[in-house]
Symmetry: C2
Amino acid sequence: MIDQFLGKLLWDKDILNQSMYYSLIGGGKRIRPVLALASAEVVGGDPEKILPAAVSLELIHTYSLIHDDLPAIDNDDYRRGRLSNHKVFGEANAILAGDALLTYAFELLADPGVGLPERQLRIIREVAVAAGKDGMVGGQVSDVAGEGKTLNLDQIEEIHKGKTGALLTASARLGGILAGGTEKQVKALTDYAKALGLAFQIKDDILDVVGNSEILGKPAGSDLRQGKATYVSLLGLEGAEHQLHDQILKAQSSLKPFNEGAIFLTELASFIQQRQH
Amino acid sequence: MIDQFLGKLLWDKDILNQSMYYSLIGGGKRIRPVLALASAEVVGGDPEKILPAAVSLELIHTYSLIHDDLPAIDNDDYRRGRLSNHKVFGEANAILAGDALLTYAFELLADPGVGLPERQLRIIREVAVAAGKDGMVGGQVSDVAGEGKTLNLDQIEEIHKGKTGALLTASARLGGILAGGTEKQVKALTDYAKALGLAFQIKDDILDVVGNSEILGKPAGSDLRQGKATYVSLLGLEGAEHQLHDQILKAQSSLKPFNEGAIFLTELASFIQQRQH
């Protein structure tokens, strides 16, 4: 559903559209929109109805990857096994393609009919906060500022909460709120997504140590080489695996209010735990 | 009103907030929010009520200046007589500060109570289109792509419509629509803003030739040195002055439906014509 929707959006033939599209169809796991659609479903809504809003989360995620890969930030030449955006389209176009993706995301969030207008406005505010200076961008700035410093577990958790946790949490809330979930249901989805986000990051750190570069689509061991503090460097591999397990259980037990309705979200957590890339 | 509102927003002490704030309070003319507030007033609305939405336009404009000044794009070390953002905070922080300003803008556009929710959503879509790939960002990409090429008048007009025209037009429409103007009134404001935007650009080109670098806050004559096609290079100074005059008259005559109510907007057009920076 997500990839079909992305393909149907209007993409002109000019370099800007091509650059946006290149990174958007670059084989992401689509975790954020999937989380939004599944959250809409679990509160009894129709996932298809919120599709434009759900897809906007992938646009935001993609823009953040393009900008993070830039020479001035992480200077990564590869992403998901392909050349990063600026290596193909040049730095200027990569910066501007990221800007345009972020902007387009808000156009989709305001798409008529994805939810009651008041709920849509609430979601636009929540997504903006999650993606902005007190969320994703703020986490990225802290991450850049922390390079070469010795960080402790609390500090790296704080960075991850901003860099990845905030938008993942907003994704689950987007689905739950737009589809008319009760505040209790939205709270359960929030708890689920917070634990899932942490689990996601711990798994990332583990894969950097035990993963296969080819399956990862990026060189394994790069955290180690950069001297970056990770869950593995601070807790050891076994300690990190233990933490991962705890967070997955926490995520899954947050879903209790939904009973059997939450099979997909339960399995999504297991998928995060077992993923190889 | 605008500067007061900007000062009251929550700015933390970290480098990201400081970087955002540095460019935001860097002495802009605030044309976009002024245009929005005056448009709200001319249709009989309360400008103060739409203030957060009007200020969002300044955040979007500011983010675009930060990104345009980057080494990979226009490589400008100065902006409004001060060092550009990346010269003070570094490239990584400048990219991320721009991202955070753009994101914050949409949080403000979704601020509860600036208008009826349906109208707010319409404005969010319009601003996103005006600022995005088919508007401001698209214009910037065309501008970068056109460097070193010989462009004709139609081509530079097309670039300007995207780079500056689209957001100026959206600013007037934002005020008119949020404040409940009729479609006829909104159409008049749209015509006004389109002519004003063109006039603004022609004046920019004229100032680059006849302006004083110190008053401009940037080196005069830079278009000439870069071999850029401008209204002056294509029409001559007199021809450009003539075009400027025509556009100002066009803007002012679009205001007829408002009678004496439009004194401020009429004078704003004269200010654009006469400005020295």
